[in-house]
């Protein structure tokens, strides 16, 4: 059970602050929301946490571990998974192959047995395909296993990304607008899965535009505007906060 903590994290681009003094905690077993109008710096926050961008000032920790300076791939191996705002899949690869890629951090066969095609290499492939098959079933996508990922609908592609992230068996999961472009029933079925995943002790940070979705799912919500935290609290508190209403309507 590991929590994600940001303390006083800042980052600017060419003197322009994109994220300014953000302090936030996403506890294990909960879905924490991060909302804000367009250009508030939400995706920058995700990129800072995952190490794709270097932190200018401040500290990021996962559990007890300081990951402020960790590289993106080291962070992922430590169990920080994410989805992307603009879906990023291997379009030519099948759905199953895309999900199998998510298991990378759990692969145990060494380089040499992979190079020489030892039985352990083949056994691992079968094992991962079985595990990926189980994920596909959970998301109701078994029928699409052999389809090229790029040929599927937007909603299905979102699910593939989600399965790939869950394949990492993460301790922290960052969801960058996971229900954008989905209808209500699709969003509802995903919400069930998120609750379920959080229930297993994963710290989920949900970045979302869809206010209703965030309100229904999150126990605690942070509101970002122009890179600064303007409000935080439980869904009701945040919903009533005049600063939040102004930030959303004013943009």
């Amino acid at each position: 059970m590991k929590a994600l903590c940001l303390s006083d994290v800042s980052r600017s681009f060419g003197g322009l602050p994109a994220v300014d003094g953000l302090t936030l905690t996403a506890p294990a077993g909960r879905v924490t929301g991060l909302i804000g109008p367009n250009g508030a710096g939400k995706t920058t926050v995700v990129n800072l946490i995952t190490g794709l961008l270097k932190v200018g000032r401040g500290r990021i920790t996962v559990g007890e571990r300081d990951v402020t300076e960790a590289s993106a791939s080291a962070l992922a191996r430590a169990g920080v998974a994410r989805t992307f705002q603009n879906i990023r899949l291997i379009a030519d690869a099948t759905v199953l192959e895309n999900v199998v890629a998510g298991f990378h951090r759990h692969e145990t066969t060494g380089v040499l047995s992979n190079l020489f095609g030892l039985p352990s290499s083949f056994a691992e492939r079968r094992r991962l395909e079985e595990k990926a098959g189980a994920l596909l079933e959970r998301f109701g996508m078994t029928a699409f296993a052999a389809h090229p990922a790029g040929s599927l609908s937007y909603g299905h592609q979102r699910r593939i990304e989600m399965m790939r992230a869950l394949a990492m068996d993460p301790s922290v999961l960052l969801l960058d607008e996971p229900v954008a472009g989905m209808n209500d029933s699709e969003a509802h079925s995903l919400a069930e899965i998120f609750r379920d995943v959080a229930g297993q002790g994963v710290a989920i940070l949900l970045i979302e535009h869809n206010m209703r979705f965030v309100m229904s799912l999150c126990t605690h919500i942070y509101v970002l505007a122009s890179g600064r935290l303007i409000s935080d609290g439980d869904p009701e508190e945040v919903g009533r906060d005049p600063k939040v209403i102004e930030a959303y309507l004013g943009s």
């Binding site: 190490g51 791939s73 951090r105």
Partner: protein, 292 residues
Amino acid sequence: MKFFLSYIPLFELALFNMLLAFSQYVVLRAGVFSLGTAAFAALGAYTSAILATKLGMSPWIGMAASLVLGAIAGALVAIPLARLRGVFQALATLALVQIMLSITLNWVDVTEGALGINGIPRSVGLFGMFCAVVVVGYFLAVIGASSIGRAFDVIREDETVAVSLGISVPKYHLIAFILSGSIAGFAGGLHAFSSYSITPNEYGFHMLVMVLAMVVLGGRVSVWGPVVGAAILTVLPELLRGFQEYRMVMQGAVLMFAIVFLPRGIVDTAKNIWRARRVAASEAAKTKAVTV
């Protein structure tokens, strides 16, 4: 039989080109834009030739040394180039080819300069080349289906996704460079032992462009891509022999056609089409079952 015998040199050349194309393929599959294959091949060829002619060593030792030196050269190149991507990788590895060329041309005491090394005992024939292609091809197919191949594919398609899944890009680029260097070094050694003589200019710009063209034409995901590409671009010039001066023009036209209309290469495009058909067929079968 006589007809077949007269084509043996062509078959040997095709097999040699397939090995070079394998070396180019493995880096492109991993998303590394390396042009170093010609340099690694030169290193392997000269290693084998020098060991055989100056030290009188057996071809087996020569080829093993070529393979190992190729692998070491690949590793040494990968480390300083780890931070480079795309066109910068291409330029840096192009420089490697130039460096190798100037060494083989100017270190006359060892390499005999522009005259090249002659009188290498011919100890590898068509069958030996064929076995080498089968072994390397099988090896690459196994690697491609393993965790390494999966990591290569993700890195090539989207490096940001790769790192966010925990894939260490420098590690897999290093593996790709070592594989590319060892395959090209081995190919160079085989070439030296199958062609009596080697000269520096064989391993220059012409080889670099040709090998790259083979993989672009054939495809860079399936291991059959480089095989098909090398076969076509070796046989095509022979078929166009009658056209003499238009030969290069027609070869260039074929390549441009492939890049514009088959950007994934012949084999990978065919594979995608075949898979799409199969999926469509299974869909159709399902809807039929539902309506009935």
